[in-house]
């Protein structure tokens, strides 16, 4: 009798169904699932696109590799008349112009970031920071025109003669002061990547806790000593990260560089000489390649550019990892 009552109260169908029905009615995670698969699809889609692109470039450039072999990488000769194609001078041009840009841009960008974040009063820092970031919004063709008509003549009349007079004995500063050339490309690229590096560096500095700065000040550090100890040292890995981003832009920059580097497929130690980058040779010749082999060789240049970017990025990432590991202190 009692058990019957208990059964009726707790285990009757009506009750259990009443409770369970609304719970089981529909899958509340449906939206989650859709969202998950959408994002997963997008992520893999990007990877697939990358692989497809590499595959296609490999296929298109294969004739060049099979015909030219290793000489493609070891030769600096690029001559559509004799059908000789070597990528070496372009690798040289890309790497040197980008390194030059980084060498010019890093001290300026870090200095700008330090000034805006740590020294300038806020009424000045805001508009100044905005203007510097505006530099990133200028199209590269405009940079190229400015480089060709303003920067190159400036270098030719004011900078290169002085360098020749005082450092002419140094192999980096020899040859005719033409304005356009490796130096011009480096300076122009430096201006182009400065906003990227300084904006990222500012974020890095902003993330450094006040307690580090106060630790330095509390020990009797002057402002500069505090910046060195608490800001620059702590921000090292972040600054390197910012430089990688800037370097990435410099390596691939095409239009502006093509307009000011002089476009000569030769390797010269002097920064006054003209050069050619992997991106600029593509811009110059891809539309008007004479032979199938030249077209394949140009595609192979594109592939090489991709590989060089990949290698430099990997090295930079390794450095960041190494620095961060040093901070955390692997026991």
């Amino acid at each position: 009798m009692v058990t019957e009552l208990v059964e009726k109260l707790f285990f009757t169908r009506e009750i259990s169904e009443e409770i369970s029905l609304p719970l089981k009615k529909r899958d509340v995670h449906f939206g989650d699932k859709v969202f998950y698969y959408l994002l997963k699809g997008a992520s893999w889609g990007i990877v697939f696109l990358l692989l497809a692109m590499v595959g296609l470039i490999l296929k298109m450039s294969w004739p060049a590799f099979s015909t030219l072999g290793w000489t493609f990488f070891t030769s600096a000769e690029w001559n559509s008349w004799t059908q000789e194609f070597g990528v070496l001078s372009f690798i040289y041009g890309t790497v040197i112009s980008s390194l030059l840009a980084v060498a010019f841009a890093v001290p300026v960008s870090v200095g700008v970031a330090l000034f805006l974040n740590e020294l300038a009063p806020s009424w000045l820092a805001r508009p100044l920071g905005f203007l510097i970031e505006m530099l990133a919004a200028i199209p590269s063709i405009v940079y190229g025109l400015w480089g060709l008509f303003v920067l190159a003549p400036l270098l030719r009349t004011y900078v290169q003669p002085v360098l020749l007079d005082y450092f002419g004995w140094f192999p980096l500063f020899q040859g005719p002061p033409l304005g356009v050339g490796m130096l011009c490309a480096g300076v122009l690229l430096a201006i182009m990547i400065t906003p990227t590096i300084s904006a990222m560096t500012r974020e890095v500095f902003k993330a450094i806790p006040v307690s580090h700065r106060e630790a330095a000040l509390g020990l009797g550090a002057t402002r500069w000593e505090m910046l060195k100890l608490a800001v620059l040292k702590t921000g090292t890995s972040g600054i390197i990260g910012a430089v990688i981003l800037g370097l990435g832009r410099a390596l691939g920059e095409t239009m502006a560089v093509t307009m000011v580097i002089g476009n000569k497929s030769e390797i010269h130690l002097s920064l006054f000489e003209s050069g050619q980058t992997m991106a600029s040779i593509l811009a110059n010749q891809y539309a008007e390649a004479d032979s199938d082999l030249q077209l394949a060789a140009l595609t192979a240049v594109g592939l090489t550019l991709f590989m060089v970017s990949l290698i430099i990025n990997s090295i930079a990432r390794f450095i960041v990892w190494k620095v961060e590991k040093g901070f955390k202190g692997g026991k």
Partner: protein, 253 residues
């Protein structure tokens, strides 16, 4: 030495319009541990940050009044705050060793700022400071390792060593154990009591047992005012002021 190492006269501190410390007079003797207690926001941290002129580094912050350190007014005309801070050490709430610096370099940094470059002088001073902060045996084999790799309690003792290395007459501590576990806290309290022989310690604490365990005199702050200052044993057993009594018996705060 005897007598007063710190003498504060009519100290007022502000954050923009907010009056954080009001007309505080207080003096501290050599080889004394003085605890500052009071509810959060009562101005005790601001007060000690005025004692090494760190307060003025916060945008919008300023203060008035006189603070005599060893007979010299640190707010006097032409006094460089950098020099003041080299003579008044500070330990903060959260352990803040410099990332990217080794244990050795973290302790040596104050000396290096003061211009010491000789390796032998540095390593001697670093060892002495680490011994005094009871960290030497734990780190002597890994002085080259980063300071940030230590545990929280060790990091805080490293910061104490960093402050001790330059041998300042006064060390300020702003709730140095509030981020630490009880064992690390006990170690640091023990350390502070031992440090009395070398330096004067002014310590802000929220832990009243801590104040009674380590300090000779205690100051009670409330809403920016110094309510009562006297022997710790007296403050905790027979406070003169009703507000002090209410606070230490836990009726507010």
């Amino acid at each position: 030495m005897d007598g007063e190492v710190l003498k504060v006269e009519k100290l007022n501190a502000y954050f923009n319009d907010f009056h954080a410390v009001k007309d505080v007079d207080l003096s501290v003797n050599y080889h004394e541990v003085v605890a500052l207690i009071g509810p959060s926001g009562c101005g005790k941290s601001t007060f000690i940050r005025c004692l090494n002129r760190l307060h003025e580094e916060v945008p919008g912050a300023r203060c008035t009044g006189n603070v005599w350190l060893d007979g010299q007014n640190i707010y006097g005309k032409g006094v460089d705050p950098v020099v003041v801070r080299r003579n008044v050490g500070m330990v903060f709430q959260k352990p803040n060793p410099f990332p990217g610096l080794s244990i050795f370099d973290n302790v040596a940094v104050g000396l290096r700022l003061a211009g010491v470059t000789k390796k032998s002088v540095l390593s001697e001073a670093v060892e002495e400071a680490l011994r005094k902060s009871a960290l030497w045996t734990e780190v002597k084999d890994k002085l080259k390792k980063p300071g940030t790799g230590l545990s929280g309690g060790q990091q805080q003792r490293l910061c104490i060593a960093r402050a001790l290395a330059v041998k300042p007459p006064v060390i300020l501590m702003d709730e140095p154990t509030s981020a630490l576990d009880p064992i690390s806290t006990a170690k640091i309290e023990e350390l502070i009591v031992e440090l009395k022989n070398d330096v004067t310690v002014v310590i802000v604490t929220h832990n009243m047992q801590q104040a009674s365990r380590i300090s000779g005199r205690t100051a009670f702050f409330l809403l920016g005012e110094l309510i009562e200052y006297g022997k710790t044993s007296k403050i905790f057993t027979k406070p003169q002021n009703l507000k002090t009594e209410q606070y230490i018996t836990g009726r507010f705060g």
